[in-house]
């Protein structure tokens, strides 16, 4: 089993979820995060005083799936999340060594 972790633009969330739906994902968990990569930060201001904000709001999407589905899901996310401009985000993949479905107690791939 693998975990796919994609950090994307918040405004791409809906499209990514739709893409996952289409490609058939087993389940997905979403995080509100802030990130900083190559994308330039923002200048905000308060009562006349400007300041830089380096951490920009991002969404993180995590899917645990079978090994054979990794590529398909990665591609689905990537193509839904792409704008071509700096700040599109990244996808990382991790090994998952065990899974358990709380409701039924199933283990392993059956639990995903």
């Amino acid at each position: 089993m693998k975990e796919i972790r994609a950090i994307i633009r918040p405004e791409k969330m809906e499209e990514v979820l739709a893409a996952l739906e289409k490609v058939g994902h087993p389940g997905v968990t979403v995080y509100q995060v802030e990130g900083h990569g190559r994308q330039a930060g923002l200048v905000e201001q308060f009562r006349g005083r400007e300041f830089r904000v380096d951490l920009l709001p991002k969404m993180e999407v995590r899917v645990v799936c079978k090994d054979e589905d990794v590529e398909k899901i990665m591609q689905a996310i990537a193509s839904a999340a792409r704008t071509g401009e700096i700040g599109d985000g990244k996808i990382f993949v991790y090994e998952v060594i065990e899974a358990l479905r709380i409701r039924s107690g199933e283990r392993g791939e059956a639990a995903i």
Partner: protein, 460 residues
């Protein structure tokens, strides 16, 4: 204590205006001290207190609009909406002082427009004239701020500032002159002329219909309609803020309506307060029930809009009807509201907070209601006859006709002027923010200040 004395503009126009100037002890140079005015009518203090306190309440409605609009839109545009609500009052007050007030109450030119009294200067420096200005100013600002809800979440701030100047400096004053400044509508040969007690039409329908024009020219927000054109909900981000705003507006409306007698000597103010309450309640309950029937849920958003719909509808007739009629007017207002919300979505107009059905459609309904329910117990800002009578009380269709004519004129003027204004603004400065700005929110791009910088929010 005769009515309309020191409030000539709204009541009786330029001819009686002269009478007023003399009658109120205001010499040609005005009475800035107020001593002469007081001597000429020692009963005035209570009227001044009444009008001022009610005017303060109307001013406080600005807070209500700010809360409702910010609460009913998304967090990413909250600073923008608050800035717009603040600035339309700020700019509106200054423009209205310079120009707008003169266009309403100045010497009439062919029934179309007032032409004197700019900057409150010269003989305008008079306690009675300042009182009248204060009252008219908070009303003008109300009309202005209504529009911001209809054009929310996508208009450029600069364009909104220009719009604010146009509505308080021209669009609103011209129509207000027609009805309250001795213009042609006030002199129609039907009934007692076109009547609009506290401004269902002059204030609310004008605001609502200019807003409709703005919403049409701007087009819907990104995401309001899906690829198949089906409308999608874009929920407001802060329902408690919106609810508080509605309570503030309801509170402020007790200044708006009862205060429009411009005299505490009209004890009719008690009837107006009751009617205002009952219409709001009836409309809100109606809206709640209608949506309940559709979705099986008690929809607070629509019930809040319902309060406002009822308040708008009763604003024109409030002085001329009795309690049961106020309830009926409110029920109809609730129906119009709910139908109006769905209707606008059906024709693909995006009105984020419901300003058009609330203020536009129900403002027109309020005008018509005068012609139906007026029961002959109150006159044209007067407690002496002639009294206003509508169809259901044996007054025939005369007053109704005057009301319909006024409503049509209003629609043509406000919607037309609004269309022209927003089209011209679009050509000259552009009125819509870029898609990127719209998606990331106007707060960051126009103001640099997110509304809740420490809170984690989903950016919808």
């Amino acid at each position: 204590m005769e009515s309309g004395r020191f409030y000539s503009g709204k009541r009786v126009g330029p001819i009686l205006s002269a009478v007023f100037l003399l009658g109120s002890g205001m010499a040609l140079a005005g009475d800035p001290t107020g001593a002469e005015t007081l001597k000429s009518d020692p009963g005035l203090p209570v009227d001044y207190v009444w009008v001022l306190v009610c005017g303060f309440l109307v001013m406080f409605m600005q807070a209500g609009f700010a809360c409702v609009e910010a609460g009913f839109c998304r967090a990413k545009n909250a600073t923008n909406l608050l800035t717009k609500n603040l600035m339309d009052f700020v700019v509106g007050a200054l423009v209205f002082w310079a120009v707008g007030y003169a266009l309403i109450t100045g010497t009439d030119w062919k029934g179309l427009i007032g032409t004197s009294g700019f900057f409150l200067s010269g003989e305008g420096y008079d306690v009675g004239n300042y009182l009248s200005f204060f009252w008219q100013m908070v009303f003008a600002a109300t009309a202005a701020t209504i529009v911001s809800g209809a054009v929310a979440e996508r208009i450029k701030f600069q364009a909104y500032l220009l719009y604010s100047i146009a509505i308080t400096g021209f669009i609103y004053p011209v129509y207000a002159h027609w009805v309250w400044g001795g213009g042609w509508l006030s002199k129609l040969g039907f009934g007692l002329g076109h009547l609009d007690f506290a401004g269902s039409g002059v204030v609310h329908a004008v605001g609502g219909l200019v807003g409709l024009a703005g919403a049409i020219v701007l087009g819907p927000r990104f995401g309001k309609f899906d690829k198949n054109g089906k409308p999608r909900a874009i929920p407001g981000h802060n329902i408690p803020l919106a609810a508080l705003g509605v309570f503030i507006l309801w509170f402020g409306w007790y200044g708006f309506n009862p205060g429009s007698t411009f005299s505490a000597h009209h004890l009719r103010i008690s009837v107006i307060a009751v009617n205002t309450t009952l219409a709001a309640a009836a409309a809100s309950l109606t809206a709640l029930i209608l949506v309940l029937a559709k979705t099986r849920k008690f929809d607070l958003g629509m019930a809040l809009n319902g309060v406002l719909a009822g308040l708008v509808a009763i604003t024109a007739p409030c002085a001329w009807v009795e309690a049961w009629a106020a309830v009926v007017i409110g029920i109809v207002a609730g129906i119009i509201l709910v139908a109006g919300v769905y209707f606008l979505e059906a024709i693909k107009v995006d009105d984020p907070v419901g300003a058009v059905p609330v203020h536009g459609f129900n403002g027109l309904w309020g005008l018509i209601a005068v012609g139906l329910f007026a029961d002959g117990t109150y006159g044209n800002y007067a407690i002496e006859p002639p009294f206003v009578k509508g169809l259901f009380y044996g007054g025939g269709v005369d007053q109704l006709i005057a009301q319909v004519i006024g409503a049509v004129a209003l629609f043509v003027w406000a919607f037309g002027a609004g269309l022209v204004l927003f089209k011209v603004l679009d050509l000259v400065v552009g009125i819509r923010v870029s898609p990127k700005e719209e998606i990331q929110g106007l707060d960051l791009f126009e103001h640099g200040t997110p509304a809740y910088p420490e809170f984690y929010t989903v950016r919808r």
